[in-house]
Amino acid sequence: MKTVKMTTPPSMVPMEALPAIKKDFRSVKKLDRQVITNKELAFQSNEKADRIAELTIAKKELAFQNKEKAKRAAELSIANKELAFQNDEKEKRAAELGIANKELAYQDGEKEKRAAELSIANKELAFQNKEKEKRAAELSIANKELAFQNDQKEKRAEELVVANKELAYQNQVKEKRAAELVIANEELAFQNKEKEKRAAELNIANIELAYQNDEKEKRAAELSIANEELAFQNEEKEKRAAESRLANKELAFQNKEKEKRAAELSIANRELAFQNDQKEKRAMELDIANKELAVQNQVKEKRAAELNIANIELAFQNHEKEKRAAELNIANIELAYQNEEKEKRAAELSIANEELAFQNNEKEKRAEELIVANKELAFQNDEKEKRAAELIVANKELAFQNNEKEKRAEELSIANKELLAFTYVSSHDLQEPLRKIQTFVSRIRDTESANLTEKGKEFFCRIQESSKRMQTLIEDLLAFSRVNTAERIFVTTDLQSIIEEVEAELKESIEEKHAIVEVKEVCPINVIRFQFRQLMLNLIGNALKFSHPQVPPRIVITCKNQTGRELNNEKLSLEKKYCHIRISDNGIGFEPKFAERIFEVFQKLHDKEEYAGTGIGLAIVKKIVENHNGIITATGELHKGARFDIYIPA
């Protein structure tokens, strides 16, 4: 179908043309509709022709199919008959299979039951094994940890000991060095004192020298004065000698004058002789006068000679004085030399003093250095003391930690003891009500049984049996906790006496079973006596209990001291001495795989109807052996007997 669309926009057509256009448009539409209807009719006629042809074909096909179906129905009929036969056969067989299945189902049920039982047993075993492994692992870890802690502690203790030793050694060395320094200081102080003494002596010597120099200078000054005086005296003497010479010259001159006068006198004499002649008298007088003059001359000559001698003497004195002056000069030179020497020596002494002062300085320096060194040493000592203090603190801490651990161990021990005490007290207190139940039951049995039915009587018997069993259990528990809590006093005793006591206690059973207890070897043993008695009671009691019904029990006990080397057990130290106690019997024994398990609490190999017991006896035995720091092993063979070996430190 086509639709005519308005393609011209209305705005392009004038308004007055619109009605005419609308009319045209309607007629066109009507035409279009007729054309379309015609076409559709033609198309439908075609479709119908086609469909008639198809129906013809389909009819032919259906006819063919109907034929095929008739054939197939015949075949199916045959097949159905065959199937009916087969079904019959199958039902027969199914019935047979049903019977077989029921049988199988029954067998499976049985197997499942058994498997379930086995599974439960396995699970239980696995659980027990796991528990044991866990416990062993925990114990192993705890042991390792303890061992490790012990190691660490020992190491640290060793380190501390080493550190302490080193410190002690260092302190010693330092004390030595300090002592040496003290000695060195003392020596230095002594040397200083000596030097001071020597300096003081030198000072004194210097003062003395200065004094001597002064003295010498004084003497030199005096000598100088004396020299000057001598020189002055010499001068005076020279002067006087000069004066003497002048006087001599004058005398000589006078003598000459006199000679002249004598000559003149001679002339005069001659004249006078003449005159004498003339004047003989007068000559005579003159002669006398001459004689007198001669005497006077003689005197004068004498005096001249004396003067001459005096001159000679003066010259000699001058000479002497010159000599002495020369000597004094020499002495002066010598004094000057000595002064020089002394000055030199003083200079040397001064140098020596300086050197000493230098040495003193050096020594003071060294003393200072030593003081510094001492301070450093003191500092180091302080440091070491600090470190020692730290180590002491560390030690204290370790001690504290150890204490804490010991405390904890003690607490655990106390808790353990409390637990055991609780076990003990509760077991103890359980005895009383139980006993009363038993007594009441015994009274009913004795006096009221006539009023009871057979069933009632049987129930009372059961009560009695259970009570009896509970009583045994409580008694065993008490014995077990007693072993843990009671005081442990070791005494040296002989096994024989303990065995005799036990035999007395088991007398009834021994007689009843015609048992033989044979003690082959004994030696003194150091044990907690009541515990060891309990141990022997349990072991001998077990040997009696687990005997062959037809064979009289024979129990053989030996006891001897042996070294670990002889005993061939890896848990024993080779060099240590052990008391080895062996108890063997000819009873029913046990399978070797149970050798460890029989020592565990509540572990039993037999049911209680067969062999009564609580499963505590051997746990007590093991505990007692452990209380003696020993080990116990069990060896057994089913139906052949059991053997227990106890090793306790001798």
Binding site: H428, Q431, E432, L434, R435, K436, Q438, T439, S442, R443, D446, S467, K468, Q471, R482, A486, F530
Partner: protein, 157 residues
């Protein structure tokens, strides 16, 4: 020879045990006059009054665990009393601890009975204790005979 009647004191705080004792005694071939007290203080009061007003008892059966004053204290006090120290004291207790028994023997107790669970055994052991304790020579026995087991052939009827 057993006195007739034999005068007994039982000190036990447990009423059931007192009943058992009384019943057992009544079934024994003897005439007895039993006084029962339930603690140590009552007992001492009774014994001291008795010492003023006769007749004094021939035998004392003494439980250990009692209120107010226990058996150990009673025993110690009796042994310090000039008149009462000759009264035979038979310890009558549920438990048996070797250490405790040794201590009691040292303190001068005459016999030790562990209360049996079986009533006929109770009768036997009470009878045995009365026979032994009322003998003319009632000195303390040897230690191995201290604990009574009631091992009699039979009780004469």
């Amino acid at each position: 020879m057993m006195p007739n009647p034999v005068i007994l004191v039982l000190a036990d705080d447990d009423k059931d045990d007192c009943l058992f004792f009384k019943d057992a005694l009544e079934e024994l071939p003897l005439t007895a006059k039993l006084t029962t007290v339930h603690d140590g203080e009552q007992l001492m009061k009774l014994l001291i009054d008795n010492s003023v007003a006769p007749p004094p008892p021939h035998v004392l059966f003494l439980d250990l665990n009692m209120p107010r004053k226990n058996g150990f204290e009673v025993l110690a006090e009796l042994k310090l009393d000039e008149k009462l120290k000759y009264l035979p004291v038979i310890i009558f207790s549920t438990s048996y601890e070797p250490d405790v028994a040794n201590l009691l023997y040292k303190k001068g107790a005459q016999y030790y009975i562990r209360k049996p669970a079986d009533f006929s055994q109770l009768k036997k052991v009470i009878y045995q204790a009365l026979l032994l304790a009322t003998e003319d020579n009632s000195a303390q026995p040897a230690k191995e005979n201290f604990v009574l087991k009631g091992d009699l052939e039979a009780i004469p009827s």
